[in-house]
């Protein structure tokens, strides 16, 4: 069972502010989803390898050479706030 308290923890971990009503609604949803996911328990996976990729990956190395990158102003143009070539955010430490 996923409690409202647990949803609160998950929402905090994933940095999403939520009202009490939202927490209750998502608790319902997550319980329904978890019920379905627990259906996987019936599959025998005792000797199965863990696989994280659908396709065998090829070696993706390259020569370590310097290439051009985006100009800083292009990188910063979508930033909500930028100062002196940096991203600006609200206070982090007191």
């Amino acid at each position: 069972m996923i409690s409202k308290k647990e949803v609160e923890r998950l929402a905090d971990m994933t940095r999403i502010a939520m009202t009490d009503d939202e927490l209750a609604k998502f608790a319902e949803d997550l319980n329904e989803i978890l019920d379905r996911l627990m259906g996987l328990a019936e599959v025998d996976t005792q000797d199965v390898d863990t696989t994280y990729q659908a396709a065998p990956l090829e070696e993706a190395t390259r020569e370590d050479v310097i290439t051009s990158s985006l100009p800083a102003e292009e990188v910063l143009k979508n930033a909500p706030e930028a100062v002196d070539g940096y991203f600006r955010v609200p206070r982090i430490v007191d």
Binding site: R15, M18, D29, R36, L40, V48, A54, A55, N78, P80
Partner: protein
């Protein structure tokens, strides 16, 4: 028939012999958008008519016989693939004003080939959904029946191609997001092999599942477009170096002697009668032409949706961490400290389905559940992959339905989340296994809604999909057996 409803390969012929100009084609398409877009709402952004016409004129001036066949063809791009001229929103308030500083590799290839981007198409926010109703802006309507959904998440792209609002379109497919809307709207939809198309510039939600896919009027167009876009890209570490075939050569090739497998699990499951009927008709047509059709078994298929949901949400919860109000997109300006800013920004920027999936991802990844949910799903994925590889050793191709039903009504999915979960039942398997899969329109149900067959091939075996797809397309077109 209007120009804007013709397949690209016909238009390419007409353009190269100067029977028509790119400007006439663009005008025809823009008139059609004017007439239909209010009802269909396929696009989030449409470029200015002037700009589109100027590009078409430039294409006409540049044209020199058939040397650059794609010059001046107007097409659409799903709005989670980066373009530089037009904004890229992912149908999310989070990226409502985002203008990418770089273009996706596939978009660069298209522009170099002279194609014109008409606009960016609607989707379920960040690609999460199967009806395009999860767009933060508005739902798209199915051009065949506007009371019904176009499918999703590439619903805008499928609707644009079906309505004659684009000659062809790019979509993305993490669990069926190209094939399912293609089936609902009656167009061809291809999810190529994992690694076949570069994903650089695709705003990813689940990287081990995400693919760029193609939505076209017919199989021949699909083969042409894949040949143009396929190939290794140093900017995408998962893109493959395997040889790009001359895909159009596979069209119309003799199918006698090919072996086609039909999974028992597909036909035994709860499936709309007319779709089952279409599969039987296709089987008969294949047999009549000398193909060998045999029943096969993919025993773990039924667990595909759960494995997909657990893993794709896990990946999404980590992937969407980048949307924090720092580097791009929305920011809550009221917060006094950075953590509150993150939390408020994500609260305002993400819609309910995106939040649900992020929370689900966190739920399956936390220490207490990692083993029984996440790692379990990883192993089930491996079993499904092995099922496919075993079966594809014996058969050249797998045939089945793309969807359990034809297009459903708008407004019904939010009432029953299980409906959407099940809508992906036949498509997620190909993403779990990384194999190529294509939707092929094959007749209509009693309500006049398109039925889609799904063809699934060996890794990098897209040619077989085109070979058998073009044969079945001809059967459907001639009314033979259906």
């Amino acid at each position: 028939m209007k120009l804007c409803n013709l397949p690209a390969h016909r238009l390419i012929e007409m353009l190269s012999t100067k029977e028509i100009s790119a400007e006439e084609l663009a005008q025809d398409l823009l008139r059609n958008i004017q007439a239909r877009e209010d009802q269909v709402k396929a696009y989030i952004t449409i470029d200015d008519a002037e700009n589109i016409l100027a590009k078409a004129k430039a294409a006409d001036a540049k044209r020199d016989g058939a040397s650059e066949p794609f010059l001046g063809l107007p097409m659409a791009i799903k709005d989670n693939i980066c373009t530089t001229e037009l904004p890229t929103t992912c149908a999310s308030k989070m990226l409502e004003d985002y203008h990418s500083p770089f273009a996706a590799t596939v978009c660069e290839k298209l522009e170099q080939a002279g194609l014109i981007f008409v606009g960016k198409t609607n989707l379920d926010e960040f690609g999460m959904g199967s009806s395009t109703e999860n767009s933060a802006f508005y739902p798209t309507h199915n051009p065949v029946d506007p009371t019904r959904v176009p499918g999703g998440s590439s619903g805008g792209s499928a609707a644009a191609v079906a309505a004659g609002e684009a000659i062809w379109a790019l979509g993305t497919d993490a669990g069926g997001s190209v094939r399912q809307p293609a089936a609902f709207c009656g167009v061809v939809g291809l999810k190529p092999t994992y690694g076949r198309l570069s994903r650089y510039g695709l705003i990813s939600f689940a990287p081990s599942f995400d693919h760029i896919g193609l939505l076209t009027r017919d199989v021949a167009d699909c083969a042409l477009l894949l040949r143009l876009l396929a190939g290794h890209d140093p900017l995408d570490a998962t893109s493959s170096r395997s040889k790009v075939a001359d895909y159009p050569n596979a069209l119309g090739k003799e199918i006698a002697g090919l072996t086609v497998g039909v999974p028992a699990e597909f036909l035994q499951s709860n499936l709309q009668g007319e779709i089952k009927g279409a599969i039987h008709d296709a089987i008969q047509a294949l047999k009549d032409a000398g193909a060998v059709v045999q029943e096969i078994s993919l025993p773990h298929l039924g667990h595909g949706p759960s494995a997909y949901y657990a893993l794709s949400c896990a990946e999404a919860s980590s992937n969407l961490g980048r949307f924090d109000g720092v580097r791009y997109g929305l920011r809550d300006e009221s917060a006094q400290d950075v953590t509150t800013m993150f939390k408020n920004t994500r609260r305002q920027g993400f819609g309910p389905e995106v939040k649900r999936r992020i929370l689900t991802g966190a739920m399956v990844l936390v220490k207490e559940r990692r083993e029984e949910c996440y790692l379990k799903a990883v192993k089930v994925r491996q079993l499904i992959k092995e099922d496919f590889h075993r079966v594809l050793d014996d058969v050249d191709l797998i045939l089945g339905p793309t969807t359990p039903t034809t297009a459903f009504k708008l407004g019904t999915t939010n009432l029953d989340p299980a409906l959407v979960y099940d809508a992906d039942r036949f498509t997620v398997a190909a993403n779990l296994a990384g194999v190529p899969a294509m939707n092929l329109p094959f007749g209509f149900d009693g309500a006049g809604l398109p039925i889609g067959l799904q063809l699934i091939g060996r890794p990098f075996g897209e040619e077989t999909l085109f070979q058998v797809g073009s044969f079945l397309e001809e059967c459907a077109g001639s009314g033979k057996n259906i």
